[in-house]
Subunit: 250 residues, 2 copies
């Protein structure tokens, strides 16, 4: 499966044109909706996936939904708490399964257990900074093209098992001039950001442009007000991320 | 000093009537403003004080302002993150100094270090459930009258050192029918809630009616959706508390 659109096109052929109008899969997968705002419905299962920015010291022994200690203390906790308050009457389940240090290949390895088996109906993925960063600090070999190919493999796996899932691809971001993030990151890191954006477009899913969010925030506070090291968020930055995430909800 | 109004009245006598109109202390301390909405100004120092509901597993070694790990994972973290995002251009400092198990006498003992010396300009105090609870589970002797007297001692100490502080008295709450909170709590516990409300009125400071907040939330979710044991909050309940707190801000 190359793209979500192609997947839908194939399904359309299989089902026959008469079945399309009444099939809720197609209603959910209409381009405008998939790539725009996210809808929270009764019994939704919302999963935050990613690296340390999502993990934020969560208790990994806590596997059930909606548990405070399972969320760490970052944007996922703040966003989850808001979702659980706002949609209290919708019986939603929210999970955080971010793991520090993860790159796309790490997600692929644990995807069955840590994503597919949870049967998310809304899946937010924030991955990419380590895919680049390890080429800087550990001599790892990687390119935006490889990152993109691996990310597409992850999404194909996801959509094959969960064709109705509402996907959110979060842009990996860096705040230049704060500790770990220096001019040496550019323009290479931009290639990974571009790849994430291209994937969201190709799969016609929601893209959360976190680099723009942090760039705009620069007018209100310095880089180290929002991040501790250019990559990980302060309390202010976690709220900034959570609010941007919540702004995706209709 | 019996009440804030009396303190102000005494100061007015000392200053003389002509000085009142132009003195910012009186502008800040006008009854309507002190008891109503809270204003966040440049360089404000905001302190959350209380017991375990405020503490929420914070790292007590982290003493500086605005540190994520110093906030635990409850309403204080969520509210602080929102304040730091919203007022990014105001150079505010936010602290959490809640300690699990605390009653008013515990706050009095540590008030110099954990409140006065931080020089808060906005001080939120959430205390009282343990003052009552220990009479139920540990045979402690206490009454709403004693609680009120001790709480007034705490506020007198506060206003004597920090006459311009904007105070928020948070109502201790219980969600009846969830684990620790049973019919046996009533009507005795209500006496402590009433005392907190009376103090806020007598000192003409902002009162946050958390019992009403949780009572209203019952129409959207069951008691154990908002609290784990009737007293401590779930992720949804922490957000509910934070939002109610943030609603006090102009």
């Amino acid at each position: 499966m190359e793209t979500r659109r192609k997947f839908i096109a194939k399904s359309m052929l299989a089902l026959g044109a008469t079945a399309i109008a009444s099939n809720p899969v197609f209603a959910t997968d209409s381009g405008a909706k998939a790539a725009g705002k996210i809808t929270v419905k009764e019994n939704d299962i919302i999963l935050f996936q990613g690296d340390s920015i999502t993990d934020t010291g969560r208790n990994r022994e806590e596997l059930g939904p909606n548990n405070t200690s399972a969320f760490g203390n970052g944007y996922a906790l703040i966003a989850a708490s808001s979702l659980l308050n706002k949609f209290a009457d919708k019986n939603i389940q929210v999970y955080n399964r971010g793991i520090s240090g993860n790159r796309v290949p790490d997600l692929i390895k644990r995807w069955d257990v840590d994503a597919i088996q949870l049967k998310p109906t809304i899946l937010s993925v924030h991955i990419g900074v380590n895919d680049f960063w390890r080429t800087m600090d550990s001599g790892a070999k990687n390119t935006p093209q490889q990152y993109k190919q691996q990310y597409k493999e992850l999404l194909d796996k996801t959509l094959s098992a969960l064709p109705e899932v509402q996907l959110i691809i979060c842009e990996p971001f860096g705040v230049n001039g704060v500790k770990s993030v220096t001019d040496a990151w550019y323009p290479d890191f931009t290639g990974y950001q571009k790849a994430a954006k291209e994937i969201a477009k190709e799969y016609n899913v929601t893209f959360l442009p976190y680099q723009t969010v942090f760039d705009k925030a620069a007018s209100r506070g310095s880089g180290d007000y929002w991040t501790t090291d250019g990559v990980h968020t302060t309390l202010a930055g976690s709220n900034l991320m959570a609010q941007a995430w919540l702004d995706l909800i209709k």
